[in-house]
Each structure stands twice: as structure tokens, then as C-alpha cells.
């Protein structure tokens, strides 16, 4: 039997896993810090919630790397799918608010949750009907979800980046870079399932860069909000 790991083709636990975990959990902390200053960038509760859930679920997905159990691996993909859904929705809602002046209320808020609930059902169905292919099937679904999500995010981040100014341009620019990398990463994953050989290490480098750009984006947003928050909460002593 060929030892796939010697060709860098097999999933492995290495530096990229640790790096990826550290980056996504730091990103989540940055989202929480930014959320605390949400009054300054009042885009409503829904986009903030979805942004939080996207980073949180991706963090959990990355934790799943630490186990080699196929069952854990398949559950990990559900969190990846959820992350894709919520990240896409967060950016899409911000796009609707800033580019179209829409208010996010009503049924539209529940659509991503409803969509997210479908995937555990699919997982349960596959678990009962075809447990042997559970991991690869969930992996393929995750690939497709991320590809669709990334394409939408590339568009929304582009629209947002071209309509905002200052540091917001950088925030959306890095988000767009992140989406491009997610698209490449998942596209390579998808073609691999179709029989093309793609080095696992290349995919992991792309995934790590995806996390890196996401963290840069969140860092810029958090820095911007914290800076203004400090300015606004300072007191003014009129000595004249």
C-alpha cells in the first residue's frame, strides 16, 4: 500500500493545524471585542451574530483537525458548512445595509438558521444509509457550500470595498482576499474528490492564508472601532 503521507497528500496534524486554530480563535476574540463597540458601527444585531457564529464554528471545525476519527471528521464538516453559511450571510447583510440602505428585519434573519439546520439532517441520513462514505460525502458538501459562499462573498466584499472609504476599504479588501483563498482551497478539495491529485500541503497553506487574511480583516475593524470608542468616551473639560 502506498504511504500517502510521504507524498504530502494525506491529512496530517502539523504546524498548519496549530496555526489555523490559533488564528481562528484569535479572530473570534477580535470579533467579540469589535462587537462590544457595536454602537459605533451599528449594522444591527443579525450581521454581528452571524459574524460571531461564522468564526466560532470555523474554530470548532479546526479543533476537529486534532482527531483522526472519521466520525469526528464528518461532524467537523457540518461546522465548516455552518461557518460558510453564516460568513456569507453576515457579509451579504452588511452589503444590504450599507449599499442598499435596507433594514434587516423579519423572516430574512431566520433563513440562514433554517439553511444551517438542513445539514445535520443530511448527516443523520447519510450516517444511517451510507456510513462508509459519510466523511467524503460531507466533505464534498462542505466544499460546494464554501465555493458558493465564497463567490457571493467575493461579490459583496467587492461592492462594500468600492462604496466605503478609509480603513473600511482595507477591512473588505482582506475579507475579499480571504474569500478568494477559501474558493481556491475548496475548489482544489473538490477536484481532488473527482480524482485529481492535489497536494494536501498546498491546500493547507491556502487554508492557513485564508485564516490569516480573515484575522487581518477583523484586526483592522476592531482597531478602528476601539480607536473611535476611546475618542468618544473621553471627557471634555471646558476651561475657558
Amino acid at each position: 500500500m502506498i504511504d500517502l503521507s510521504s507524498y504530502g497528500l494525506e491529512e496530517s496534524i502539523g504546524l498548519h493545524v496549530i496555526l489555523s486554530n490559533v488564528m481562528w480563535w484569535i479572530s473570534l476574540i477580535l470579533v467579540i471585542i469589535a462587537f462590544r463597540n457595536r454602537r459605533i458601527w451599528n449594522i444591527g444585531d443579525a450581521p454581528w451574530t452571524f459574524l460571531f457564529l461564522a468564526f466560532f464554528f470555523f474554530g470548532i471545525r479546526e479543533l476537529g483537525h486534532l482527531s483522526k476519527e472519521p466520525l469526528i471528521g464528518s461532524i467537523r464538516y457540518i461546522f465548516g458548512i455552518w461557518s460558510a453559511i453564516f460568513m456569507t450571510t453576515a457579509l451579504f447583510f452588511i452589503f444590504l445595509i450599507l449599499c442598499h440602505g435596507r433594514r434587516i428585519t423579519g423572516v430574512i434573519i431566520y433563513i440562514p438558521y433554517a439553511l444551517a439546520l438542513i445539514f445535520p439532517v443530511i448527516w443523520s441520513y447519510l450516517y444511517i444509509s451510507d456510513p462508509g462514505n459519510l466523511k467524503s460525502a460531507m466533505g464534498a458538501i462542505e466544499n460546494i457550500t464554501w465555493i458558493i459562499g465564497s463567490l457571493v462573498t467575493i461579490y459583496t466584499a467587492y461592492m462594500l470595498g468600492t462604496r466605503t472609504t478609509g480603513d473600511f476599504v482595507k477591512v473588505f479588501m482582506f475579507f475579499q482576499f480571504s474569500a478568494y483563498l477559501a474558493l481556491t482551497w475548496k475548489f482544489l478539495g473538490l477536484i481532488e474528490t473527482q480524482g485529481f491529485t492535489v497536494s494536501y500541503s498546498i491546500r493547507e497553506i491556502i487554508e492557513t492564508l485564508f485564516g490569516l487574511f480573515a484575522i487581518i480583516s477583523m484586526y483592522i475593524l476592531t482597531r478602528m472601532l476601539r480607536k473611535l470608542s476611546k475618542q468618544l468616551h473621553g471627557t471634555y473639560d471646558n476651561k475657558s
Binding site: 451599528n42 449594522i43 435596507r102 472609504t165 478609509g166 475618542q231 471627557t235 471634555y236
Partner: protein
């Protein structure tokens, strides 16, 4: 002793009282973040601030290219509305007004407000 956020809001309220037909006004950063704004049911504040700051940035670039000078003020109007943006130090003072407002009076009040805001920032 008051916080700067409270001062900004008071300044905007004073501006709206003295200038008349102002539908919405805001103090925003160059990034398009709201420092303070008066309430308006018809306009989404974040959109107002983001577009206001972006428009000023574009106009600023145009002015620099054409005259090699910095922009101080930006005014644009539609059939019924007018948007006036004034630089107040590091931030922008933006007002959406009706077309029937007395422009001279309005500009004077806005300049005074911009001076006050500049003072608070220092």
C-alpha cells in the same frame, strides 16, 4: 464634565435648531464611522455616514487632481434634497437638508459647528 459623545450630539442639535430644515446631520470619521448623529427614521445612519464619507473622499481626490488644493466643503443636490459636507479637522460634518433651506444661513451655521467640533477634537 461631559463626554465628547454627548457634546457632539448637543452641537448637532443646536445646528438643526438654528439652521432650520435639516433632515439629518452627523459627525463622521473619514472611515465613515458615526461619532454622533441626529435621529432620522427615513435614513439608515450607517449608510448615510458611509456614503457621505466616501463621497467626500472622491470629491477630495478630484479637487486635488484638478486644482492641487485640499477640499473644504462638498455640496450636491437633487430635485428635493441637498447634502452638505464640511471638514471639521480630522472628521466630517454632514447634513441632509431640504431644497428650501436658506443656504447662506445654513453654511454659516455649519461652519460655526465645524469650528466647535474641531475644538472638541483638539
Amino acid at each position: 464634565m461631559t463626554t465628547k459623545a454627548e457634546l457632539y450630539l448637543l452641537t448637532l442639535q443646536e445646528l438643526e435648531k438654528s439652521a432650520g430644515n435639516i433632515m439629518s446631520s452627523a459627525i463622521v470619521t473619514r472611515d465613515g464611522l458615526i461619532m454622533s448623529s441626529t435621529s432620522s427614521n427615513n435614513i439608515h445612519k450607517e449608510t448615510f455616514a458611509a456614503y457621505g464619507a466616501a463621497a467626500f473622499k472622491s470629491a477630495s481626490k478630484t479637487m486635488e487632481e484638478l486644482s492641487e488644493e485640499n477640499i473644504n466643503m462638498l455640496i450636491f443636490e437633487s430635485e428635493n434634497y441637498r447634502v452638505v459636507t464640511l471638514q471639521a479637522g480630522e472628521v466630517l460634518l454632514i447634513a441632509l437638508t431640504g431644497k428650501d433651506i436658506q443656504m447662506g444661513m445654513m453654511l454659516l451655521e455649519m461652519k460655526n459647528t465645524a469650528q466647535k467640533v474641531k475644538g472638541f477634537l483638539a
